[in-house]
């Protein structure tokens, strides 16, 4: 199950709507092993495509180094589907490389509903999981959505 703060869900949906019809993408980092998504990091889709996404390589390297320094890991890896159901595509499955991550898909065509869905993707096997959206975390840590995070991502 993915337990996630509503502010993070709102941020993902806002970014996905803003980027539509291009696929949006990003990561929510959390402390290693905590399974708690905290730090919201919108990413640039280097593919700039309606049917594909790829984290911009330079930004990807920077963000991964920062997570490494902070003893964080990607807890959520999210992207949008702009004209298909919110279920992992063949390439989503083939290219998944973070077995501990929750792969979240945001549909941006209302035809496919408006609920985000979450999956584990391990060795080519997809398992859907329940998403529990909470108003606050029980731990002391709270989500961080840096001011202008979306604008900053555009500028890199």
């Amino acid at each position: 199950m993915l337990t996630i703060h509503f502010k993070l869900v709102e941020a993902m949906i806002a970014q996905a709507k803003q980027d539509h019809p291009i696929e949006t993408c990003g990561v929510i980092a959390g402390v290693e092993g905590s399974n708690l998504p905290l730090r919201f990091i919108p990413m640039i889709n280097a593919a700039a495509s309606e049917t594909f996404f790829e984290f911009a390589p330079k930004q990807h390297l920077q963000v991964w180094r920062k997570m490494d320094e902070n003893d964080e890991e990607p807890v959520v890896l999210y992207h949008s589907h702009t004209d298909s159901q919110a279920y992992p595509s063949r390439s989503d499955i083939e290219l998944a490389t973070e077995p501990q991550a929750h792969y979240v898909i945001i549909p941006t065509n209302p035809k496919y509903g408006d609920e985000i869905r979450s999956f584990r993707i391990v060795n080519g096997t997809v398992t859907e999981e329940r998403v529990q959206v909470v108003n606050e975390y029980k731990s002391l840590e709270q989500p961080i959505i840096e001011n202008g995070a979306l604008a900053a991502a555009e500028a890199v």
Binding site: V27, T51, P57, L61, D68, S89, S91, L95, P99
Partner: protein, 90 residues
């Protein structure tokens, strides 16, 4: 002194869960060969037919080897190599 190689999550089962390993060599291809000797299975995850897989990125320090000399890119003691699979999909 050797070269530090940052190992991505997906390859850590091959490196006994180590995030960083050490290797020696004078170019990226030699480093990969040496990793393969120590941690069998790494090479085929990273490359095939003398080419790095399309969705694997390799950096020497901050430089993507696609924009330098590819697998022939020179490395020296103290450099760090980062292997980073693309986060991508459809």
């Amino acid at each position: 002194m050797s070269i530090t190689v940052n190992i991505p999550t997906i390859l850590r089962p091959l490196t006994q869960d180590q995030k960083r390993v050490e290797a020696t060599g004078s170019k990226v291809s030699e480093i990969i060969e040496q990793l393969e000797q120590q941690y069998a299975g790494i090479k085929e995850k990273v490359m095939a037919d003398d080419q790095v897989h399309r969705f694997i990125n390799i950096y020497v320090n901050d430089d993507d080897i696609r924009f330098t000399e590819g697998l022939e890119t020179a490395v020296k003691a103290g450099d760090s190599i980062t292997i980073l699979p693309s986060v991508a999909g459809g």
